[in-house]
Symmetry: C2
Subunit: 256 residues, 2 copies
């Protein structure tokens, strides 16, 4: 129940109408006994900083969760922790109490928790990552931290892929990482291919291995359908979103 | 249920923890079939304009309800309708779609609806108003619009009382209005006396007539207790708050 003491967590994105997770947040908030509400905030692209300059005065604001297209801006505006710095983007902001913002990035931690829950191995495995954008960057760093046998990164934009390969190598010198598209033991799709009404596979069907994760938050992407048809262990973005909820609540409400 | 399409109504005040009405708003919103949430926004005194400069970018913001201490600032920031202009304060703001704000004031209309529901007459009656602050100003204008036989205004701050008398006389030349404290048929308390743990009566008990309204949102203010003990028809601020809810929803969500 909302009261005068309820704190707010706002999800800033553009568009916002399609966003999910409100019922899941409400259930987690109730289960933890917090007096808090999680709400959509339709903030147009390029307006995050202006919006934050106003809501920094909102004393019952617990924090802002940032989604597309605000994650890079969030990392620029807030003081980044290690995960946000490595990813070059942030999906969490909280007031620092001095008129500024602290930034974190839990896409990677959410992916790891979801992968573990789904039974996807990463340590000592050959992992193929598709997509070197914002989500891909966070997930690549998280995978590298697990000590894979090799990490191959593919993106149609070779410059973007090369940039992520270099960043991972710099952060994790012991991890064999290269720009490559080929056979693997674990495939992780961080590209937008398969989102919405996109009916394409993000790679050749022959490259789908026994373990697959698709960060797109839909159970029936072409990749998920193909992976399941082949008997692969496969899961998708819903579990990554759900796995982030306790991380978000802890960081914003318990400041842990 | 909250979704990505939920619009927000924020109640801006300082302090905010004691504010009421959240369950009543939720029920009215659900009954009307709106996809909307009514939430507290703890905005410190003097910060309303800075806060609004940020949330003007929030495309799913339906509007901001302003309570103490923001009503004068709201009237200064927004383009006032007649009720807000007459009251010299506003309790409603909505985005005008061009980066600015429209302002309205429904304290007066809420009072009239509540008085009518409680069976308090105003037309052709001698009305005593106590308190010439923000609420008193809005209520005085609303009473004057009903055509009372006489309107007497009292405030310990004589300058404030005189200013309101002048303003009412200018807006309603046909209404006999003066600064005065004496016997009446209808007594309306718009002072803060009796709020919280204040156990004072706002006027001498001998001046309590057969019809009493106390804008303080508590059933057991000393004035309410005394009025009921004398068998007066009496009601208090809860009904004024509740009567405003449909007015707020119509103005913000249907822009009526």
């Amino acid at each position: 129940m909302i009261s005068g003491r309820t704190r707010l967590i706002l999800l800033a994105g553009d568009p916002i109408g399609h966003t999910k997770g409100y019922a899941e947040y409400a259930a987690a908030i109730a289960a933890a006994g917090h007096d808090c509400a999680y709400l959509p905030a339709h903030v147009p692209a390029g307006r995050l900083e202006d919006f934050l300059a106003g809501v920094v005065h909102l004393r019952n604001l617990a924090g802002v969760v940032c989604t597309i297209p605000h994650k890079q801006d969030a990392a620029r505006i807030g003081r980044c922790d290690t995960a946000a710095r490595r990813a070059g983007s942030a999906n969490l902001l909280r007031p620092d109490g001095a008129g500024g913002w602290e930034a974190s990035m839990v896409d990677g931690a959410g992916f790891l928790a979801a992968a573990s829950a789904a039974g996807l191995p990463l340590a000592r495995r050959r992992v193929q990552l598709l997509g070197a954008g914002g989500a891909g960057r966070a997930v690549a760093m998280a995978i590298a931290g697990e000590g894979p046998a090799a990490l191959a990164i593919h993106d149609p934009d070779a410059v973007r892929a090369e940039s992520l390969v270099g960043a991972v190598a710099a952060e994790f010198p012991g991890v064999p990482v290269q720009r490559h598209l080929g056979e693997s033991e674990v495939l992780v799709n961080c590209s937008a291919i398969g989102m919405g009404s996109d009916d394409r596979l993000p790679c050749d069907a022959a490259l789908i291995p026994g373990f697959v994760y698709d960060v797109v938050n839909r159970a029936d992407t072409p990749l998920m359908v193909a992976a399941r048809a082949r008997g692969a262990v496969a899961d998708h973005g819903y579990s990554m979103m759900a796995a982030q909820i306790p991380l978000v609540l802890r960081w914003m409400l318990e400041r842990g």
